[in-house]
Amino acid sequence: MLTMIGKRLMFAIPSLIGVVVVTFLLTRALPGDPAAYFAGPAATKEAVEQIRKKLGFDKPLIEQFFRYTSDLARGDLGTSLTTGQPVAAEIRNRLPASAELTLLGLFISIAIALPLGVLAATRPGSWIDHLCRITTTAGVSLPVFFTGLVLVYVFYFLLGWSPAPLGRLDVFYSAPPTVTGFYLVDTLMARDFEAFRSALSQLILPAATLAIFSLAPIARMTRASMLSVLASDFVRTARASGLKPSTVIVTYAFRNAMLPVITTLSMVFSFLLGANVLVEKVFAWPGIGSYAVEALISSDFAPVQGFVLTMAVMYVLLNLAIDILYGVIDPRVRLEG
């Protein structure tokens, strides 16, 4: 097992190097001159040159690259020009915000999509199958920012049930001492139940928005894979042997149908983590996606590079975790392969 993990990590190194090189080159190829941007509205040509020198952009590309990689080796991802903060620290602060939101969204989504998919597969053509089809189609075809805005409009503006969409906590609560970076966990650890409720109520709408969007792939995949498993020989045998329908579906069919669902889940998770920019914008969520987009708009190289690198590392780790999970769910899957 350990050798397998080691081997897999070894394989990841070349792709990480590739990511470092490509992001470096891509960010340099972006249109726009960061020196001119940061010199401000009133800059003369000389002022722009001064700033270019300060930022080190006057050096040849290869020298810039070596400086970047040697900083990287020391764990220094550089400093963002737009926010003025070290990139590593910002990613550390913002990643948990995105992860907490994405995980909760995914959790809600799974809680709805799995039963829905299973039920739809066991009764194809019934009303529940149609319900599944309609919900998933609607969920995936509504753009996330639209769903988000509608939810804010209804639950905050009209009904007043939800708190103001002002980020992770109500303005008048202070953040709990950082342990995990997940406010739900940290507030409980600090035994600050008011803050916990505040954090939870802030989370519900954005998490629901993400859940609505990610319902479709999970429910559809569950349904499809359940259908094929239910049609297979061993299920027919189990049924013929007179096993209870619930045992057949849960113990035999569902476990076998899980593999493609897990794969989809991992893809949905990593996709959501990077792509929930719009949700973060709508709910003023201090997440990693909006950070990266903002940096991109202002030609701010360091955060873009840091973001891509973090995402690459997360993908590698996620894939590893999924592979391990495969072996747990289905012993037939040999990890060495």
Binding site: P41, G84, V152, W161, E194
Partner: protein
């Protein structure tokens, strides 16, 4: 019943009893904190708390204005609609208790009890160090200082512990006003020197993250891109102690949500909303909406006069007659702007800037001019800055439509914000729209940057005319020596010439719009157009 009122009436109840009703605030202590706190929501936040920093953005200026003091500031007068408006010509001491203008120098006496946030007294050497810093760090601050002929560290002289003298390089009417802008803020020199390094002798890295001033507020928490929390400095001597104890400034990127927060009564102040929202909020009058024209500013259509087709005066005039001025006012600005077009033909030129020009939409005249200048039609590109797409995009579409009618086929070129500055410096865009405004509200200041043959970055049209330079230089000299008659002649001269040669076509003077709750008062308009928390009152 609104949640806010409910909380007030129920604030005596125990926290537990409230829990079921209000999702956001449960304990009475928090409701009290709310009444002493001002919650501001806006799109962008600061990237640096130090105006001398590299690339400090405009929201950063707001923090500086409120957390640092200058030697002097402006008095207030009644502005448009009775809103307090800074008085360009009247100064008052902020850190200085006395200002004495001599022939070639000005002397300031510092307030004796002025202290920095860490308790250190504000002395003459702090003032000198700060002004030295402003003229030495390069970039925007140095540039702004130079606009008032403040360029050399030798100009700032310590007379004694509480007296500073500033020597003039030459007579310049803008020197004293330039000491009241945000850049010459006074920094805690001992604190910054302690945190400086050989590579960073002015302590820019330290001041970027925390405030080191003597101002009315100090930053207690700053999460870049998320929020800034500022607490009142009760020991402030720059003016009457502010009423608001704490300011929380949250970044809410969605304009729709900012409006919802205001209308629900959760946020106290917001700006940077679409004009349409402001217009609707004004009509509903549930909130106070203040609209004040930008001082010394305008949105305009610029044309590069060094290259065909716009090197031809007739083409420029044709464009000036073809622009859909009124449509832009109605459909893009929702009337939240002052028109700068269509003055009556017999109206004499005033000594004010900006003022309307005499062009108006007249397609027949435009077509006739085009028939003479370019009968075959013209193809060009019309560029705008995507950062301000909300206004620029519909504006450019309207302009494109109108120009097509006179045979100018303009392709719209959307330039990303990061790229706009670069394009600007290159001065290659043939046709573009932009906003320009000057902190110092003097016509010759605007013209010096925007029309003078020195060809600064703001002379986006690359316009050069010896006659124009003569008027502008003449007005500057006349202003410095106080020769009002010569000044008036020169100002009228350059305005007339700018309208006759029409390298840039003024469209309108935009408004600064600020929406606030009815219980928030004390808004003041400043040249920097950002909020001054020191005068705001809640409740």
């Amino acid at each position: 019943m609104k949640r806010r009122d409910f909380l007030k009436s129920a604030s005596g109840l125990a926290a537990g009893a409230l829990a079921s009703a209000a999702p956001a605030i449960w304990s009475p202590a928090k409701a009290d904190a709310r009444s002493e706190t001002l919650l501001i929501v806006s799109e962008g936040g600061p990237n640096n708390l130090d105006i001398h920093g590299v690339g400090t953005n405009v929201p950063g200026y707001e923090v500086c204005w409120n957390c640092y003091d200058r030697l002097i500031s402006h008095e207030m007068k009644a502005g448009p609609g009775g809103v307090p408006y800074y008085d360009r010509d009247k100064f008052k001491g902020e850190l200085a208790e006395d200002m004495n203008i001599g022939d070639m120098s000005v002397t300031f006496k510092l307030k004796k009890n002025a202290k920095f946030h860490d308790g250190a007294p504000v002395t003459a050497k702090d003032v000198k160090w700060s002004l030295d810093r402003a003229v030495s760090v390069g970039g925007f601050p140095t540039f702004q200082m130079a606009a008032g002929s403040l360029t050399k560290t030798e100009q700032f002289v310590i007379v004694d512990d509480s007296t500073v003298r500033i020597d003039f390089l030459k007579k310049d009417r803008l020197t004293v006003p330039d000491l009241a802008v945000i850049v010459p803020s006074v920094f805690n020199s001992e604190l910054l020197k302690k945190n400086a390094s050989e590579k960073d002798p002015w302590g820019l890295e330290y001041a970027k993250q925390q405030t080191a001033g003597s101002g009315a507020y100090k930053v207690t928490k700053w999460t870049a891109g998320t929020e800034v929390v500022m607490e009142r400095n009760d020991a402030w001597v720059g003016g009457p102690v502010p009423k608001v104890r704490r300011v929380i400034w949250r970044m809410v990127p969605q304009a729709g949500n900012r409006r919802a927060l205001l209308e629900r009564g959760d946020a106290d102040i917001s700006y940077e909303l679409p004009n349409k929202d402001f217009q609707e909020m004004k009509a509903e009058s549930k909130l106070n909406v203040v609209s004040i024209p930008y001082s010394n500013g305008m949105q305009y259509i610029g044309m590069n006069v060094t290259k065909p087709p716009f090197d031809n005066l007739k083409v420029r005039q044709a464009v000036a007659y073809a622009l859909p001025y009124q449509k832009i006012m109605d459909a893009v600005m929702f009337s939240l702007a002052n028109p700068l077009f269509g003055a009556p033909a017999d109206k004499p030129t005033d000594v004010v800037w900006p003022q309307p020009h005499k062009y108006n939409t007249d397609m027949d005249k435009a077509k006739a001019l085009m028939a003479q200048a370019a009968p075959g039609g013209i193809e060009t590109t019309l560029s705008f800055d995507l950062n301000f797409a909300q206004v620029n995009e519909p504006l450019c579409v309207l302009v494109q439509e109108s120009l097509a009618q006179i045979g100018i086929k303009a392709t719209i070129n959307k330039v990303p914000g990061a790229n706009w500055r670069t394009e600007f410096t290159k001065k290659e865009m043939p046709l573009f729209t932009n906003v320009f405004s000057g902190w110092l509200d003097y016509p010759e200041y605007f013209f010096f940057w925007a029309y003078h043959g020195q060809n600064s970055i703001f002379n986006t049209m690359s316009y050069k005319s010896p006659e124009m330079d003569r008027f502008i230089d003449g007005a500057r000299v006349a202003a410095a020596s106080g020769d009002q008659a010569a000044y008036d002649t020169d100002v009228k001269g350059f305005i007339d010439l700018a309208f006759a040669d029409i390298p840039r076509i003024p469209l309108y003077q935009p408004f600064v719009n600020v929406a606030m709750q009815k219980n928030v008062s004390g808004y003041q308009y400043w040249f920097h157009r950002r909020l001054d928390y020191r005068s705001l009152v809640k409740g």
